[in-house]
Symmetry: C2
Subunit: 285 residues, 2 copies
Amino acid sequence: MLYLIGLGLGDAKDITVKGLEVVKHCRRVYLEAYTSVLTVGKEALEEFYGRELILADRETVEQKADNILKDADLCDVAFLVVGDPFGATTHSDLVLRAVKLGIPYRVIHNASIMNAVGCCGLQLYNFGETVSVVFWTDTWKPESFFDKIQKNKQNGMHTLCLLDIKVKEQSLENLMKGKKIYESPRYMSVNQAAEQLLAIVQNRRLQGEEPEVTENTHCVGLARVGAMDQKIASGTLQQMSTVELGGPLHSMIIAGNMHPLEIDMLKLFAVDKSSFEDNECQRNT
Amino acid sequence: MLYLIGLGLGDAKDITVKGLEVVKHCRRVYLEAYTSVLTVGKEALEEFYGRELILADRETVEQKADNILKDADLCDVAFLVVGDPFGATTHSDLVLRAVKLGIPYRVIHNASIMNAVGCCGLQLYNFGETVSVVFWTDTWKPESFFDKIQKNKQNGMHTLCLLDIKVKEQSLENLMKGKKIYESPRYMSVNQAAEQLLAIVQNRRLQGEEPEVTENTHCVGLARVGAMDQKIASGTLQQMSTVELGGPLHSMIIAGNMHPLEIDMLKLFAVDKSSFEDNECQRNT
C-alpha cells in the first residue's frame, strides 16, 4: 500500500494520530521536500517519529517515482507531504503511476494552506481561483496572475496568492555548465509580493487602464500559518509592502467583497484599524 | 485559552497529535455538533480521548457562547469542530466574542471538506466560489446556487457543492406549538443534489435558456471523504442522479475546464469511462 500522508503546516505534532501510526509501521517513509517546508526540519521529524526518513526532492518524485513505489504492492510505503497531499501541490502523478502498477493507495488528509487561511476570518467559500505569484527576474516579469485577481475581485471573490518558493534551483551559469550546485532556498515574502503587485498597478495605469485592484485594496498577509508563531496582518496593498511578518512561509490574500463578520475578523489583525473605515470597505460590505 | 480544534473528517484518530494533547489537558471540551458529523459518534471520541465531551448544538454556540467561554481566561477550554474550525463553517462569532472578553485563542487546524475534495484529482486552485445546495420543499425551490455554478463554469472553474444537513430541525407543527421535538437528521445525497440540478436544467430550458450546465456536464460525487470507506464516483450529472455512494456525508463537484492530468484522475473513479471521451470533455481540455 502507498500512503500519501499530510503533515499539516506547523511542526512535527501536526501529523494526525492515524498518520503517525502509519509512519511508524511503514517499510520506507519518504518526505517530499520541494513544494513546502515545515517550521521544523527533517531531523526533528525523524526524532519525533523515531525512524529514518528519505528526502524526496523534485527529481526523485518526477523522474525516479518507481524507486518510491518499489515493492509497494508487497509492503507499506509512506509519502509525507507538508500540508495535504492534494493541497496546493497535487501528487496525482504518483497516484496514477501507483494505480498503473496495481499498487493500492490511501490518502491521510491534513490541513493545507488552501483551507487554513480561513483562520484570518475570510470565508473559504468566497474565494475564487487561487493564483501563484512568481519571483520576477530582470527579463521575466509575468503579470497574468494580476488579471486573475482582478477577475475574482470583479466577481466579489477573495484571491489566495501562493508565493514563490525556490528550492534546489541552479544558477543559469551552473545549469549550463552542468554543475549540480544549488542556490540557497528563497521564499517570497508578503512584502515582495505586494511590491510586485504595486508595480503592476502602476504599469496598468501607464497603459491607460484603471485597475480594480489598487494600493488601497484590502489584503491579508499570513506567515507560518498553523505554527505557534504564526502572524496575520490585514490592511491595504500598500501596507502589505512594508508589514513585518518574519520568516517563511508567507501567503497573501486579496480581499473581494466582505461580509460584516469578515471585516470584524480582519480588524483583529489590522495594521491600522482606520483603513477599515474608508470608502472602499464600506462599498464592499 | 480557548482552543478551536479541527477533528478532520474520518474517525477519532484523524485528530492531530497536537490537538489530542490539548484535548487531554483542557478543563472543558465542547463538541460542535450541528454543521457536520464524523463517521463515529460522541461516545467513540470520548473513549479515544479518555474524557467526557460536552455536546454544543447550534443553540448553545449561537446563544449561550458565554457558557462555553466561562473562565477561559483562567483555564483552558477546547471547542472541537469536525473538519477545520475555519472550513465550510467558520466559527468567527466565537472567536470575536472571546477576543472581546480578553480571552486568548489558538486554532489547531485539520483537513476540511474544503481541501480534502482534492483527493478526486481536480486541482484546488481551479475551484471558484463554493455553493450550498439546500433541500427543496414543496413551496421553496431556490435556484440561486445554479447561477453560481454556471458562472464558475463559464470562467472554467470547478464548483464544490456542499450538500444540506438538517439536524435538530423541528416540524412546522411542533415549532408553532413550541414543542422541542426534533425530526430525524437528514443528509442530502449526491443523487438528491443531482436531481435538483437536473430539474433546474429543465426549468431553464422551459424558460428558453440554453444552460451551460446540462445532464452531460462532468461531475464528481464524494461520500465520507477521509473515512476508510470513502467513495468517489465521476461521471455526468445524469449519472450522479443514480450512482450508489452509501451513507452520509456527501459532496458533489461540478467540473469546469479540465487539465489532462485531472481527467486521468477522474477516470480512476469513472462510473463509465466512455463518458470521458465525449465532445464536452475534449472541448474542456
